[in-house]
């Protein structure tokens, strides 16, 4: 049976025009795709000639895409791109830049990391995966369609699984990878089921469309809750908020340190953007919005408490930071809840600062681990004397993570508090007050474990001198730069936001 295409699609030319017009908005992604291909090729061929080949390609590609993104910041395209699959609004564009920065830092970190340097199967494939994940992250931040969301999340997830298992040098790394992949796969299956239900309720996959919200309003509320809960299983997995956080400590602890740094930052940026996109796609008076907001507020409170309380008992630095990042997720969710379409400054600032801090922390963790083999807090005893610069930077970042002035961590917290307070004033929603109080309380709790680092490094003394392995200082200098940035942005926050 021959069917004329024109019969099926009378408006095909308009559609093609739309596609062609949409492409410039996706220039960063196109650059990344090109780089992706280039990186595969260079991994196969160029690396034999020049050891840094793929790394150079990757860095250049990410930089180019970041430049493209920053050129686009001025002209947001609020209407859907490519049939409403994505929307490159200003918020998303900032997020792309942020993601690019984090990916770049990750690439540098990997390049400087001795573990990866020693990896016998080379790191070229990792850069390839990174580029794909970068695309996925961008799309996650921009997506306005359940299908696109699903694919983007899967892309990031798959890439992350691969990164965690990349080295597979130690049993723990493979264990982390397995837990991650199985947990992730379950979550995405549940999310898929939830999306299928949402599709069934509304008949559309574009969650910004009016039809979607109409459909949700017309569905029994319990069913909407069910579907949203399922969908947020997948998103929650990426964001690591309670109760979808169980994998986090194990994976963060087991994964290679640069990967942990990446996992604790990039997917969260994209996930938060996604969360914000979904939440604010729906009108505030709709049931779906209110239901979701309530769930998220509850989750944020529990997440802040859980993450910070559980971190108290940790002795492994990376594991502790895993819980810390769970706690920060709660804080970020608080920022999302207080976010409204124009005022994303607080959220953006918090995300940026958080990424810098976490990257810095893990760089230092990695550096210390590589030099002394110390992963446990007990082995940090007296390190402050031996590696003063590293531990001073570590302490400075910890101060910022706690949110004590004059660091950017403090300004970030202040901005979030400001936004939440404003939101409470505007809506009178009492859960905002609870968020504020819990946010403040967990700040105090967090002090307890963040200051374990200086406590062990400076206040305690070691029984024996640890053995020091020689290594290059590039990671340390990177971390120093980040530390300085974290502090300078705390004193002059307008340099970032202005």
């Amino acid at each position: 049976m021959i069917v004329n295409v024109i019969d099926l699609l009378p408006d095909i030319s308009e559609r093609l025009d739309h596609i062609i017009h949409s492409l410039p908005a996706l220039a960063p992604e196109l650059v990344l795709i090109a780089t992706f291909v280039a990186s595969i090729l260079s991994g196969l061929f160029a690396d034999r000639l020049w050891w840094h080949g793929t790394f150079a390609v990757t860095v250049i590609g990410i930089l180019l895409s970041a430049v493209c993104s920053s050129f686009q910041v001025g002209n947001p395209d609020a209407d859907g791109v490519l049939f409403g699959m994505v929307s490159t609004d200003a918020f998303g564009q900032y997020m792309r830049i942020l993601v690019a920065v984090v990916c770049l830092l990750f690439a540098l970190f990997v390049h400087a990391s001795p573990d990866f340097r020693a990896h016998r199967k080379k790191t070229a494939d990792l850069y390839t995966i990174l580029l794909a994940v970068h695309i996925g992250l961008n799309l996650m931040a921009l997506a306005t369609n359940w299908l696109m969301t699903f694919i983007a999340i899967e892309m990031v997830s798959l890439g992350s699984y691969l990164m965690v298992g990349y080295l597979a040098a130690a049993p723990r790394q493979t264990e982390a990878a397995m837990k991650y992949v199985l947990f992730g796969a379950v979550c995405s299956a549940v999310m898929l089921y939830g999306m299928s239900l949402l599709y069934g309720f509304t008949g559309t996959l574009d969650y910004t469309s009016p039809q979607h919200i109409q459909g949700l309003n017309g569905t029994p509320s319990a069913l909407v809750t069910l579907a949203l809960l399922f969908v947020f299983t997948g998103i929650g997995f990426k964001l690591t908020f309670v109760p979808f956080h169980f994998w986090t400590p194990d994976v963060y602890q087991g994964a290679p340190t640069p990967v942990t740094a990446f996992l604790s930052t990039a997917p969260k940026i994209a996930g938060i953007a996604l969360l914000a996109n979904i939440l604010y796609a729906w009108p505030a008076d709709s049931f779906a919005y209110q239901n979701l907001q309530l769930m998220l507020a509850g989750a944020a409170i529990v997440t802040m408490l859980w993450g910070n309380l559980a971190a108290l008992r940790q002795t492994d630095v990376k594991r502790m930071m895993a819980y810390s990042s769970i706690g920060h997720t709660g804080f970020l969710m608080m920022a999302v809840l207080a976010y409204s379409s124009q005022d994303y400054t607080a959220l953006l600032y918090y995300l940026a600062v958080y990424s810098l801090m976490n990257m810095g922390v893990f760089m230092l963790t990695g550096y210390i681990e590589s030099r002394t083999g110390a992963v446990d807090l007990a082995r940090y005893d007296g390190l402050g004397k031996i590696m003063p610069l590293a531990l001073v930077c570590f302490t400075l970042i910890m101060i910022s993570l706690t949110g004590i002035p004059p660091t950017s961590g403090f300004v970030a917290k202040l901005l979030v508090f400001t936004a939440v307070f404003h939101s409470w004033q505007a809506t009178g929603d009492i859960s905002m007050v609870l968020l504020l109080i819990v946010g403040a309380l967990t700040t105090v709790i967090s002090l307890f474990y963040y200051f374990k680092i200086p406590l062990h490094a400076f206040l305690k003394t070691a029984d024996s001198q640890p053995e020091m392995k020689p290594m290059r200082y590039s990671i340390l200098w990177l971390a120093v730069v980040l530390t300085v940035a974290v502090w300078v942005l705390g004193v002059f926050p307008d340099w970032l936001v202005g």
């Binding site: 837990k179 029994p220 809750t225 105090v444």
Partner: protein, 682 residues
């Protein structure tokens, strides 16, 4: 200072205070070099001169008041000032005049003591503060001097600080004085809050806010001011509390006998003549403040003190303790005089008492000095202050005996002595007052009369035992003691004071007080009519009683025909000073320390208790023991910390590392949320 204020008296009064102060500063700076006491004596001598000049210029004239701006708080300016009226210049003169002989006496008495430079420093400080106290023009300044006087007293009581008893005694003295200070503080703070000024002249002067009520029941708050009558009473009581502590009124008198741990010269100056009289002086100064209630309380307290102290003095064996209780008793007389509204008589008695009591102590000092020599020479190891070890001293120390006899006669109020004048005035007015007051007020004069008889008894007991009685100390008994009257540097002051203990210093009429210049200078009119009979009866009765008692004492103690049991309840009660010390130690100090201990315990454990309680609820019975075992220190931080830690541990159990456990937990949580929603929404 207004232009027409006479400048010279002010300057002279200021100089009177300044000289000892300079002496203090120089001695303090000189440190160990100032051993001779030369500085202190010179400065106090200069003070006597200027004080005499001031007295001459001001006595009987209109009061002089001068002040300089000190500091401003808010809109209120505070001044440093000098207020010279009859009372002030009288006290100024008395203090300086008593201080000088004591200084001179000290040269010999304290000779060779390793810490003597401190002695002179402290003594000068005391004199400066005491002189400042009497001429201060506002209550704040008075209070400052009042406290510094106490501080100097503290230093001097604890002069031999290596002795534990001295270290204990000065602490006790200061703390009990502090109780009084708090009263003083509360008193003037109340006045300030009511009247917005602390100026003595503005408050209590001739045209002051308080009109002299002259022992009427009319409350003083008739004067304008912001304090309700009840608070006026409270203020009066508060001031009286201050005076009670400083003037050793029952039951706050316990510090004074203990203070005898200081050098005897110090006891004579501070704890007999001057500082302890400051309370009486203060009461006289602010007399218009007191309303009827307060006055009655004052009179009653004074009477009780006089009685109790005399009673305690009856059985003491420590020569200084007897004199100390005697002082307390006499102070009780003065306070009672204030209470009956006769503050001029209180001051009169204060002045006479200052001389003869100072003399008594100096004599006692001489005796102790010699007894110490005796003990050292013969290696007897006796307590030099114990009168049981003494006896027959008249043979060795006749001059000392003579002076001491004069002082004792003045104390008992024997005719021709100054004490006769003041004590009779006091008793007579007390009777008249009682007649005017009616009712139970009659108890007071009779008790006071009885106390004066007791006074005769204990002082004659003292004299008999020390100078006449049989002795257990062998060298004394066999005439080989080798002790003698003290040197001229000690005798001179004693003789001077003995001269001052006779009537001519105060009036030329030896048998009646009415024309004493002192009473004429600061006299007040009495609201009652004099009862002429009393003016004859009271002196006659007391003199007769004194003679009888003297005979009895002679009979009992010199002849050794002691007639009383020494194990009676009353006797023991008196000997142990009414067990007041133990009472304070056990009950008051014990209560404070107990409370403090409880609070410390609370500090340590209470919050823990909360922790434990919460933990028990939170974690079930099984772990209670573990929680209690763990020694937690304190604080909310701990509470929060423990809770957080416990929660952290609980959360930890979810993180057992088993993937499928995680998944199960995850789905369980989702399920719970779902069920909740379905139940709520369906």
């Amino acid at each position: 200072m207004t232009p027409d204020t006479p400048t010279y008296p002010i300057l002279a009064a200021f100089a009177t205070v300044l000289f000892p102060f300079i002496g203090f500063l120089l001695s303090a700076l000189a440190g160990k070099k100032a051993k001779s006491g030369f500085l202190a004596i010179i400065t106090i001598a200069l003070s006597v001169i200027t004080a005499g000049y001031t007295f001459a210029m001001v006595w009987g004239e209109a009061p002089i008041h001068a002040q300089w701006h000190w500091f401003t708080i808010g809109n209120e300016a505070f001044h440093l000032g000098i207020f010279l009226d009859n009372i002030a210049v009288l006290m100024l003169l008395v203090v300086a005049t008593v201080a000088l002989p004591v200084h001179i006496y000290s040269v010999a008495y304290m000779k060779g003591d390793p810490g003597i430079h401190r002695y002179w420093t402290y003594l000068s400080l005391f004199c400066a503060a005491m002189l400042g106290l009497v001429i201060a023009d506002n209550l704040l300044l008075t209070y400052i001097c009042w406290e510094i006087v106490g501080f100097a007293s503290y230093l001097l009581i604890g002069f031999w600080f290596t002795k534990d008893a001295a270290a204990q005694a000065n602490k006790r003295a200061f703390i009990i004085n502090r109780i009084g200070d708090i009263g003083f503080l509360i008193g003037f703070a109340l006045l300030y809050s009511g009247f917005g000024t602390l100026d003595i002249n503005a408050l209590f002067g001739m045209e002051g806010l308080f009109v002299v009520p002259a022992a009427t029941d009319a409350p003083a708050s008739a004067a304008q001011g912001g304090l309700p009558a009840g608070w006026i009473t409270v203020a009066g009581l508060a001031f009286f509390l201050g005076a009670m502590a400083k003037s050793a009124q029952f039951p706050l008198h316990v510090w004074l006998p203990a203070a005898m741990e200081g050098p005897t010269s110090v006891s004579s100056l501070i704890h007999a003549a001057t500082m302890v009289a400051a309370g009486v002086f203060l009461l006289a100064r602010i007399f218009p403040l007191f309303d009827g209630t307060v006055l009655l309380i004052i009179a009653a307290t004074g009477t009780i003190t006089a009685l109790v102290a005399a009673y305690f003095a009856l059985t003491q064996f420590d020569i200084k303790k007897i004199l100390a209780f005697s002082t307390v008793s006499q102070l009780g007389f003065m306070v009672a005089a204030i209470g009956i509204g006769m503050y001029p008589i209180a001051l009169f008695h204060l002045v006479t008492h200052a001389f003869f009591k100072c003399l008594l102590f100096l004599c006692a000092g001489a005796i102790i000095h010699e007894m110490q020599h005796l003990s050292d020479r013969h290696q007897l190891g006796i307590d030099p202050q114990d009168i049981r070890q003494m006896g027959r001293l008249r043979r060795y120390m006749p001059v000392t005996f003579a002076t001491m006899l004069i002082a004792s006669l003045a104390l008992v109020g024997f005719p021709l002595t100054s004490g006769y004048l003041s004590k009779d005035a006091l008793l007579i007015h007390a009777f008249e007052w009682a007649a005017w007051q009616q009712g139970v007020a009659h108890i007071i004069p009779y008790v006071l009369t009885f106390v004066s008889i007791l006074t005769s008894f204990y002082i004659f007991r003292l004299l008999a035992k020390v100078f006449f009685g049989p002795t257990v100390t062998a060298p004394l008994a066999n005439g080989q003691a080798g002790i003698h009257d003290p040197s001229f540097w000690m005798l001179g002051p004693m003789l001077f004071l003995a001269a001052c203990s006779f009537f001519p210093l105060f009036t030329l009429q030896p048998l009646h007080y009415a024309h004493a210049w002192l009473l004429e200078g600061i006299g007040v009119s009495t609201p009652w009519a004099p009862i002429p009979l009393l003016h004859v009866a009271v002196p006659a009765v007391t003199t007769a009683a004194t003679l009888a008692i003297a005979a009895l004492a002679w009979h009992w103690y010199v002849k050794g025909k002691y007639a009383l049991k020494t194990d009676g309840l009353l006797y023991r009660f008196s000997l142990h000073q009414g067990y007041l010390d133990s009472f304070y130690d056990r009950v008051v100090v014990g209560a404070v320390l107990g409370l403090a201990n409880i609070l410390r315990w609370l500090d340590k454990h209470l919050v823990d208790g909360i922790v434990h309680g919460l933990a028990a609820i939170g974690r079930g019975l099984a772990s209670i023991a573990g929680w209690i075992d763990r020694q937690v220190v304190d604080g909310l931080v701990r509470l929060v910390g423990k809770l957080a830690w416990g929660l952290g541990s609980m959360l930890r159990h979810t993180q057992a590392g088993r993937l499928q456990g995680y998944l199960s937990s995850l789905f369980l949580i989702i399920l719970v949320i779902l069920l909740y929603h379905f139940i709520v929404q369906a």
